[in-house]
Symmetry: C2
Subunit: 342 residues, 2 copies
């Protein structure tokens, strides 16, 4: 039987070998980042992943240490002309005033209630923070989650008339998946409210709540009438997750220095510096909004100074060039920006 | 050839079937919790895991929501007669005084430097907190990590003359592994310093730094002489992760309500209440220190009032009984307490 066994197995072995070769070729050909144009940004990202995940690389990084952090507004989704979360807060003002009628005659709430779009657009950052504080606190964490979910389902942006969660950048969603496929743990590190972003981060970005680092407010433990415990959102700022707050928030929430960090403004500067200052191969990336046609072109680097959202200054651009950060040109590096494009 | 093919495959198929049956039997027979005596505690834990991981169960929990939180001191390792971290702080006093000589004549530092064990043992909690604040802040996060590592390698406890990291409870280490094998994400939620516990949590408990929730201090981002960024530990308390601070810290760091929580004192009461108040099947567990021979017997439930460590009061015991929490008797439920036992 032995000689027959060999004859019988031969075609099977040949088939298996051919199958393996074909599979490997198919894998190599499949582009993990199809919405990216071939260019220096895409190349640098893929080279970084190879250098940190190839076991024969001198700068190989063990799986448990693979951390990649992403700013949200302007890096993962549209932030212009105003942060989505601020729009949520403005929309919440009537409900808050209903609960606290004394606010009806108090600025900036009076202006918001007037519905005068021009006046609302002129509110200062100080005014906006007052609105943020009042509309994001004073309810249970569960009630807050329900409210945000409801709002996201019905709210539409003024330019594309789409849900805000559709205004995510397709190339960055691909990048998140590509990094995770290479055993990177992906985190959001945002100046936005931690609890706000957590409501949709898993569904929209595939990032679970425990991997969202944001501006952190305190909560207060208490009991309802039936003695059931619950947490209330308090108007107490624990950490402002912007600028120096980003590396501080990363240390607090993750306790590891990232190997890759992605941002788009001066608010991300410290996170990128901190990331790049680590040993081995590290990646710091800035998204430059230079596509007025498909998205927006803004920030001083684009000659546009008056903006309430993330600023990409000339200084930031210079530091990026000097320190070897990658600058993504949305216009040149991204073949497609949104999933809803043709 | 066809009939021959069938003849040829038959023994293979039989072998595969027998192999599978044997494998399943071996798996079922292997006890995941060998250091636990059969009894109500072990039974309740295994029943909880079955009810939340069996897809046919009415209270099945999706993998991403499986969160189990563990207090550390007195729950995962020995806390009596004093918290290990406090011993670290006391040992650090001479080095701190060398840097700040003005402290040499100031209490409680003067008492610590005297080496008078009786006087040191009598220091109040207020004094100890002063020592904690001074010894745990003012250095870079990297320098702190190095110091703690060095101390853990050389320090030995006074009763067993072993490294503190050996004083972990074998049944709880098995339980951590058992839960992880069932796709539970295991977290430490400790009143101890978050940065302190993170130094050894991965090696000792298999729990990575990002899954350690502890008492949180602020850090400050800055640059060294060469312009390299680093974080300094600041004497600023962000969150006291004790009592109500435990569910608050869980919300801050995880953003999900645990399905299982383990503690041993009034400091864990709110975490256990919060866990048990969730929907579906939830598990709340208290470790009772009632084994004076193999470990310690302490707390008012054991008739011992004067203790600086976690207190298991009669009230806590009553709440546990009323609310269906599981109480582990170290004496009766644990066959073996330490790995170094015979």
């Amino acid at each position: 039987m032995r000689s027959h066994q060999r004859t019988y197995l031969k075609p099977l072995a040949t088939f298996a070998a051919v199958f393996c070769v074909l599979l490997t070729a198919a894998r190599a050909q499949r582009d993990a980042l199809p919405s990216w144009n071939d260019g220096p940004a895409k190349q640098a990202i893929m080279e970084f992943v190879r250098k940190t995940t190839d076991e024969s690389s001198q700068t190989f990084v063990p799986r448990e240490e693979r951390v990649a952090t992403f700013d949200q507004d302007g890096t993962l989704w549209v932030e212009h002309p105003i942060y989505t979360q601020v729009l949520y807060c403005l929309d919440r003002v009537p409900a808050v005033v209903k609960e606290k009628p004394a606010l009806v005659e108090v600025e900036p709430f009076k202006t918001v209630l007037s519905g005068n779009h021009e006046a609302i657009a002129k509110l200062s950052m100080h005014d906006l923070l007052k609105i943020v504080a009042v509309t994001l606190t004073g309810m249970s964490v569960d009630a807050f989650k329900t409210e945000v979910k409801k709002w996201l389902e019905s709210a539409r942006d003024s330019r594309w008339k789409r849900a805000y969660t559709e205004l995510t950048y397709e190339p960055m969603l691909e990048l998140l998946q590509y990094l995770r496929a290479n055993d990177y743990k992906t985190y959001i590190v945002t100046g936005g409210g931690q609890d706000f972003v957590r409501v949709y981060s898993e569904e929209v970005y595939g990032i679970p709540p425990e991997q969202v680092v944001g501006t952190m407010g305190g909560t207060k433990y208490g009991y309802d009438k039936e003695g059931k415990p619950f947490l209330t959102k308090e108007p107490q700022l624990l950490l402002n997750d912007n600028n120096a707050g980003k590396p501080e928030g990363i240390h607090l929430m993750i306790g590891r220095r990232p190997y890759a960090a992605f941002g788009n403004s001066t608010g991300d500067q410290e996170m990128l510096e901190y990331t790049k200052a680590g040993d081995g191969t590290r990646l710091a990336v800035l998204v430059l909004h230079d596509d007025a046609e498909r998205e927006y072109a803004y920030g001083p680097a684009q000659g546009l100074q008056d903006t309430k959202v993330g600023t990409f200054t000339q200084d930031l651009y210079d530091e990026a060039k000097k320190d070897g950060w990658i600058v993504i040109s949305m216009k040149n590096d991204w073949r497609r920006i949104f999933a809803f494009e043709n």
